[in-house]
């Protein structure tokens, strides 16, 4: 880190003492240690200001310029500009300097604006209030004023303002719970500990009386590592030193949960916090279009260099005879004669400068503006606005607009994405007896129960909600007639309660669950039992089990556990397993989500042992994960099955329609879910991911148990390859997937599972991956992304567990769902509902793709048209680098004469109407695989450009050659020649765009005709006055003289016609001979419209 380095240097020189630079000493409450204990070294740390902005007012210009010139294109133009300044080049530095300046300015304004927004955001963060203990009182101050050593008070659900060492908590055991969702995406609550010496502090005075220093390492980015030591000074005693570890360090950005308040001391502040050190902008995603653009650019660069080389060589060949090199009328200066050696090189550079416009300087800025402005259409879209949420689509990056039109694989989460994530309690099965809400509630408040919607913003909420339903319904069912039922409900109640609001159980009075909804029925029935919890242990092990250990009044230790059936059943030893299992499976087939509940009675010794193991594991510094797993294994066995619950999660509206459209558009849809196979499959059928005709291939644990994985894979592969025409769907579960993906250890023979699996997947239109762990979601994506076709993938999800997948995919889409905003925040685009994906891809994606494809191709085309005549002219001017066009034309061609029409085209073009695109998803296939930017298309555009350039140049050449153009016998010069070509050029490229425009709004008319008019007016003005600031008046009256000549008009019209002819013919012939689906749709729409109009008129 620069800071620490700088600080080290400063401290070394200022303090003048060799101090241990790898550590820092924090004086809690800024109190000096007692004299003699240690030298008090006042240290300077940055304050708690967070700076996410890149620039300040002062360094904006130099830093921004530096950033911009790091981009290769800008640097290229800078070099050209400098070359023009240094050596004698054909064009003035203005011609490349002005466009470059324009581009740089536009970009700088945009970045400055963004940075201003960041400054504003920083400000609001830095000024958010923080409670600090000063002289035994709580003082409210602003976040950025926090200093290292300050004692901070944080209340429940507040975010930590900096990295803190926990001193005490409102909980008696000195622990607090924290969620670090915003740091690492883990939604579970983590426990942090205060050191025993300080955990008893309750009041501010007590905290303030603490006299201690903390020695700790200098800030480093590893979130899970912290080494430190606290020295507590008590009156005239040796200081007590306690070790500090990561479990004492509360990180900035994490949120305090389930703890009323804590006291903690700041150790790292501001930019030194671990969050800030970890803060990095999301890795840049580059769209396929950008990649082809860069490839084209390289081709053009090669063309440019070869042009310059050819011309340089020819120049020297031509100049071989001294009469040509230096005829009597055109001598070199002495200065020019002397520089023999570098002359060839400067000639080469001069040719480069002359032809440099072939690389369109304004393309980047236009593309950027197009993306930036274009993304507003997505957020403006009313159809993607959700009334319920009150939000519309949100664009987090505009870099990928066109990638939305290129998606081949869609990876979707199930819960909350395909489904509503609005759980409705359907039934529960206790000890083999099935209860449905009616029976349970005895007809009491069923309607209320079913209408509850419990939206919890934090990830994993649905589990709570589901239980909440059960609870609510169940509590109304007062008489518990069997022990099992009692236990069952108790299990649900406890497991659940402990998860959500722990203090309720701690206090021993279950006042309410979930937003204060009274649950008095249950509580009144057995308050004595519930009330006594000497020790509560909550856990959520990695096998998706949630459990709680309680001590009942009778002294028994009970372990209640709930979790997925696959996790519970293997650990169950008794209970009505068969009946429950059957019920669970039936429910799953109906698409219900199931949850099993079990319990275990622990003896005192067992409990102690388990506790011991767990504690030990938790305190372990090495292999903590592994030891925890071992400890869990000891606890998680010998369960007694209590029962199961089933809740329904309905499909989102129009989810089926959306999936169907995506299928028709040629996309392969993968559903990744943690659910049971049966549940997920039922959802898939309901959402039309699998149709009745789909042949389902199964690659599940069940099958691989029967056959070896090898055989199954090969058999499936054979099936797929045999029947090409069939519609295949694949179901794979997490276990099998990891087996497939596992790097081969058994020898080379089985190594190709990956390939075979990919081969199968390629032929399946729909794939369902069930029982997936969050990490596997990203793995699957990685697998597809790395396959040899490099397909464009899209991931859509709503929860924190989808974040890895969303970040991994080419395009990540977040649903602003009920599992929090984590996914939406990390995504590239966020939409309120799954159904909006249809419009996003089929309409916006399609439009943006064709727009940007045309933009890129057209840019190269118009610059070929522009520069190629210049190249040809060299053959007629003795390779002397004489420019064909005037400086003003060279400068303004790209930035004003031809810039706006294409920008507007790339913003508003709609080659097919929106409704048609939505009605016929198959049109999406027309643009699949970057079809508009493939090499043949690029070649066509380039050839068209070269053809047009040849027409312009030789047309003008033959018209001009040795003839008089005017009716008064006067002659035109070389500038008229160039202006004639330039006029034809501007009109041709603009009209070419007009021919490509399928959607003429008034803005198109305005811009296209307006920019032609602008050209004419500009030329008249430019040639109409003797410009006092110019050294030359070469354009004086040239344009007007040209317009006064009849043949000039005739040749302009002729040349424009000839240049446009081939493109028109190509368009018409292609459309007539082999129309694409899009072209058919255009015509159909047209005839449909006509028809409609006709009917309209008749009526």
């Amino acid at each position: 880190m620069d800071f620490s380095l700088l600080r080290n240097i400063i401290s070394r020189y200022c303090v003048g003492e060799e101090i241990w630079v790898d550590s820092r000493t924090v004086y809690i409450g800024h109190k000096e240690p007692p004299p003699g204990a240690e030298a008090y070294i006042p240290q300077r740390y940055p304050d708690n200001r967070i700076v996410s902005s890149k620039y300040t007012f002062w360094n904006f210009i130099p830093k921004n310029l530096f950033e911009q010139f790091r981009r290769i294109a800008n640097f290229y133009f800078l070099v050209i500009f400098l070359v023009q300044l240094i050596i004698d080049t054909p064009t003035s530095p203005v011609t490349s300097g002005l466009p470059l300046f324009f581009v740089i300015t536009v970009t700088a304004i945009k970045q400055g604006y963004e940075d201003w927004l960041r400054h504003k955001a920083d400000c609001s963060i830095n000024e958010c209030p923080v409670d600090v203990v000063q002289q035994g009182k709580v003082v409210r101050t602003q976040s950025h004023k926090l200093r290292v050593g300050d004692i901070v008070v944080v209340k429940e659900d507040e975010t930590f303002p900096c990295d803190l060492i926990l001193l005490s908590s409102s909980r008696p055991d000195g622990t607090c719970f924290v969620t670090t969702t915003s740091l690492d995406g883990e939604s579970s609550h983590k426990t942090y500990y205060a050191i025993p010496d300080t955990m008893a502090f309750r009041t501010e005075q007590e905290v303030d009386s603490l006299h201690a220093t903390i020695e700790c390492e200098q800030p480093q980015p590893d979130l899970y590592k912290f080494v430190g030591r606290i020295n507590i000074y008590k009156d005239k005693e040796e200081p007590v030193a306690r070790p500090l570890g990561a479990e004492n360090l509360l990180l900035r950005g994490a949120t305090l949960k389930n703890t009323q308040h804590i006291h903690a001391v700041a150790v790292y502040t501001g930019m030194e916090t671990k969050m800030a050190l970890n803060y990095q902008s999301k890795s840049q995603k580059r769209s396929a279009v950008e990649k082809s653009m860069n490839a084209f650019l390289i081709v053009y660069l090669c063309i440019l260099i070869s042009k310059a080389v050819i011309n340089t060589v020819l120049k020297y060949a031509w100049q071989w005879s001294p009469d040509r090199d230096e005829p009597w009328y055109n001598h070199r200066t002495e200065h020019e004669r002397q520089r023999h050696v570098i002359r060839a090189f400067t000639d080469f550079l001069a040719f480069m400068v002359l032809f440099n416009y072939i690389i369109p300087v304004s393309m980047y800025v236009t593309v950027e503006m197009q993306k930036f402005l274009g993304s507003y259409f997505i957020s403006w879209d009313e159809e993607m606005f959700d009334e319920e949420l009150g939000e519309g689509a949100q664009v987090n990056t505009s870099d990928l607009n066109e990638e939305l039109g290129q998606v081949e694989y869609v990876f979707t989460d199930k819960t909350g994405t395909l489904t509503e994530n609005n759980m409705e309690f359907i039934e529960c099965c206790v000890d083999g007896n099935v209860y449905i809400p009616h029976a349970i509630c005895n007809g009491q408040i069923l309607s209320a129960a079913s209408s509850i919607d419990m939206i919890d913003a934090s990830p994993g909420g649905y589990r709570r909600v589901s239980v909440g339903f059960v609870l609510h319904s169940c509590f109304n069912y007062a008489p518990s007639n069997s022990e099992y039922e009692d236990l069952f409900f108790r299990a649900l109640c406890l497991c659940h309660t402990v998860q959500v609001k722990e203090e309720e159980t701690v206090d021993g009075i279950k006042r309410g669950i979930h937003q204060g909804r009274p649950t008095s029925f249950y509580i009144s029935s057995s308050p004595d039992e519930v009330a006594l919890f000497p020790k509560i242990f909550i856990g959520s092990s990695n096998i998706k089990l949630y459990y709680v250990i309680v001590k009942s009044s009778s002294g028994d230790y009970l372990l209640f556990c709930k979790g997925a059936d696959s996790s519970i059943f293997p650990r169950v030893v008794s209970g009505k397993v068969e009946q429950v299992k059957a019920r669970v499976e039936q429910n799953a087939v109906e698409g219900l989500r199931t949850l099993c509940v079990a319990y275990r009675r622990l003896s005192e010794s067992e409990y102690q042992e388990a506790c011991h193991h767990l504690m030990e594991a938790k305190l372990a510094l090495q292999d903590r994960e592994q030891r925890l797993a071992q400890a869990y294994d000891i606890i998680e066995r010998d369960f007694v099955l209590l029962g199961a619950t089933a809740v329904e999660d309905r499909l989102q509206e129009k989810a089926a329609d959306t999936i169907e459209s995506l299928h028709k558009a040629g996309m392969k849809v993968w559903v990744l879910t943690g659910d049971k196979m049966e549940t997920a499959a039922a959802t898939c059928y309901a959402s039309k991911l699998f149709r009745r005709t789909t042949q389902i291939l199964e690659l599940t644990k069940k099958r691989t148990e029967e056959q070896s994985l090898h055989d199954v894979l090969f058999e499936l592969n054979r099936t797929v390859l045999r029947q090409h025409c069939l519609d295949f769907g694949l179901i794979i579960d997490g276990a099998t997937l990891s087996a497939v993906l596992k790097p081969n250890q058994e020898g080379a023979g089985h190594g190709n599972y990956r390939e075979i699996f990919l081969e199968i997947c390629r032929n399946c239109s729909a794939v369902l991956c069930c029982r997936m762990a969050p990490l596997q979601k990203a793995q699957v994506k990685e697998l597809i992304k790395a396959s040899k076709e490099h397909p464009i993938t899209l991931a859509i999800g709503d929860g924190a567990n989808d974040v890895s997948m969303i970040l991994e995919a080419h395009v990540g889409i977040g649903i602003m769902g009920k599992e929090g905003r984590q996914a939406a925040r990390n995504s590239d685009y966020a939409i309120p509902k799954f159904k909006h994906l249809k419009k996003m891809l089929l309409v916006h994606g399609h439009y943006y793709y064709i727009r940007i494809a045309e933009l890129v191709q057209y840019f190269f085309y118009k610059n070929v048209c522009f520069i190629f005549p210049q190249f040809l002219y060299q053959f007629f001017c003795g390779f002397s680098q004489q420019p064909l066009y005037d400086t003003a034309y060279l400068t303004l061609y790209n930035i004003s004469f031809t810039s706006l029409p294409i920008l507007l085209y790339s913003l508003v073009e709609q080659h097919v109407s929106m409704d048609t695109l939505k009605r016929e998803p198959s049109l999406y296939r027309d643009i699949a695989k970057n079809s508009l930017l493939r090499w043949p298309v690029f070649l066509y555009w380039t050839c068209l450009g070269v053809f047009d350039a040849v027409v312009f140049f030789f047309g003008a050449y033959f018209l001009f050659d040795n003839t008089t153009f005017t009716s008064n016998g006067q002659m035109f010069g070389n500038w008229t020649f160039g202006t004639l070509i330039f006029t034809v050029l501007v009109f041709t490229v603009t009209l070419k765009l007009a021919l490509d425009t399928h959607h003429w709004t008034w803005i198109n008319h305005f811009v296209i005709w307006g920019s032609l008019l602008f050209y004419v007016i500009f030329s008249l003005l430019w040639g109409g006055i003797i410009w006092p600031f110019l050294n030359y008046q070469r354009m004086y009256y040239v344009f007007m003289q040209m317009l006064s000549s009849g043949p000039a008009w005739l040749s302009i019209i002729l040349l424009i016609t000839v240049s446009l002819l081939p493109d028109v013919i190509k368009k018409v012939l292609c459309r007539a001979m082999c129309p694409t689906a899009t072209e058919r749709a255009q015509v159909q729409c047209l005839s449909f419209c006509c028809h409609f109009h006709y009917i309209f008129h008749c009526v």
Partner: protein, 368 residues
């Protein structure tokens, strides 16, 4: 590039204190305007064979007559061209061309005889043509100072650097400076008509109106000097290759002397291609029915001052009449006829295609 712009928001979310205000602006519903919803009314033209067809026929029908008109006009223009460089030993100017030296006091004069077989009826424009002369060479094109030519006094004594190496002669600056001015075409051409009884009569040549009006009256101006050009140019030197200074270009006519000498202005408009012609003189049509240049023998008297053999150049004299569309230029007419015919043929082809494919397409589409 754009990803960073929204990072600020992200940061925001980490802090509950800061994000608490987000609930206030609930009404984020986008405006339902036609522009924002991309539903502006639009004309949606499609280039189908059917719709393009008429355009092709129309272009064909318009272009072919224009082409024929141009071609006929071009053919009616009379043009006569004669090379007087003197390359071959039998040409009259051979000696002049061969013995050329720069610093000669005695100009070499040669005479070329030619015959016009057809009379030139209207105004005849007399051009000189140069070949293989790179007036469009970059070093040449920029070697001028427009400020000086516009009468700027400071530029007169201190011409632009672009004029190098024709900027200063010794310590005195050259006016007009630069390579273009230095290489001013200085052959003098005089035309005589030899009538049937061998009597020679000089044909009056008009030297006004050969330069652009704007050049003569705005772009080129003599430096202010109380009407006395000699005085105005007193601190300047003549261009190296010139025989006389700029204020003696046309001593008889002050309106055609100095920088505003029309021959000079014409020369200063650099040609686009290495083979070019420049207007030299105009032969006004005489009143009455007599042709401007009747058919018969002519004699061209050349004061041979301008060397072109060193760079393998050629000098020509061109006599041409002019129509509304300029000089003789068959290319334009032919091009129009060709393009017109192509369009017409394409129209026919498209008609066939339209009938053949469109029926198929529509019949395929309608059931769906």
């Amino acid at each position: 590039m754009m990803a960073s712009s929204y990072n600020a928001k992200e940061e925001d979310g980490h802090h509950s204190g800061a994000s608490s205000g987000t609930g206030v602006s609930k009404n984020k519903k986008p405006d339902n305007t036609a522009f924002k919803q991309q539903r502006l009314p639009a004309w949606q033209p499609i280039l189908t064979a059917g719709s393009v067809l008429p355009a092709f026929f129309v272009i064909g029908l318009i272009f072919i007559p224009i082409g024929i008109g141009l071609y006929v006009t071009s053919n009616n223009i009379k043009e006569f061209e004669i090379d007087y460089t003197g390359v071959s030993s039998d040409s009259p100017c051979y000696n002049c061309a061969k013995n050329f030296t720069w610093n000669t006091t005695e100009p070499c004069v040669c005479t070329v005889n030619f015959t016009l077989h057809q009379p030139f009826e209207s105004n005849v424009f007399m051009y000189y043509g140069l070949s293989n002369f790179y007036q469009n060479h970059r070093r040449y094109v920029k070697s001028r100072d427009d400020r000086q030519l516009n009468g700027d006094l400071s530029a007169l004594t201190d011409p632009s650097k672009e004029c190098e190496p024709y900027r200063k002669s010794g310590d005195v600056s050259i006016a007009p400076c630069g390579a273009i001015a230095n290489s001013l075409f200085n052959d003098t051409l005089v035309l005589y008509y030899v009538d049937s009884n061998n009597s020679i009569s000089e044909i009056p040549l008009v030297k006004k109106g050969i330069a652009w009006w704007t050049d003569k009256h705005v772009k080129f101006r003599n430096p202010a000097g109380n009407g006395n050009l000699t005085l105005a140019f007193k601190d300047t030197a003549k261009p190296v290759n010139w025989a006389k200074p700029v204020y003696e270009l046309d001593p008889l006519d002050p309106e055609n002397n100095g920088f505003i000498n029309e021959d000079f202005i014409v020369w200063m408009r650099t040609a686009a291609l290495p083979t070019f012609r420049k207007l030299y003189r105009i032969i006004q049509k005489k009143s009455g029915a007599t042709p401007t240049l009747p058919n018969g023998n002519y004699m061209l008297n050349i004061t041979y001052n301008y060397p072109v053999l060193s760079f393998d150049g050629r000098k020509r004299l061109i006599l041409s009449t002019i129509s509304w569309m300029g000089g003789k230029n068959p290319f334009l007419g032919i091009a129009y006829i060709t393009v017109g015919s192509i369009c017409f043929c394409l129209g026919v082809v498209l008609l066939i295609i339209h009938h053949k494919y469109d029926n198929r397409n529509t019949s395929a589409d309608i059931p769906s």
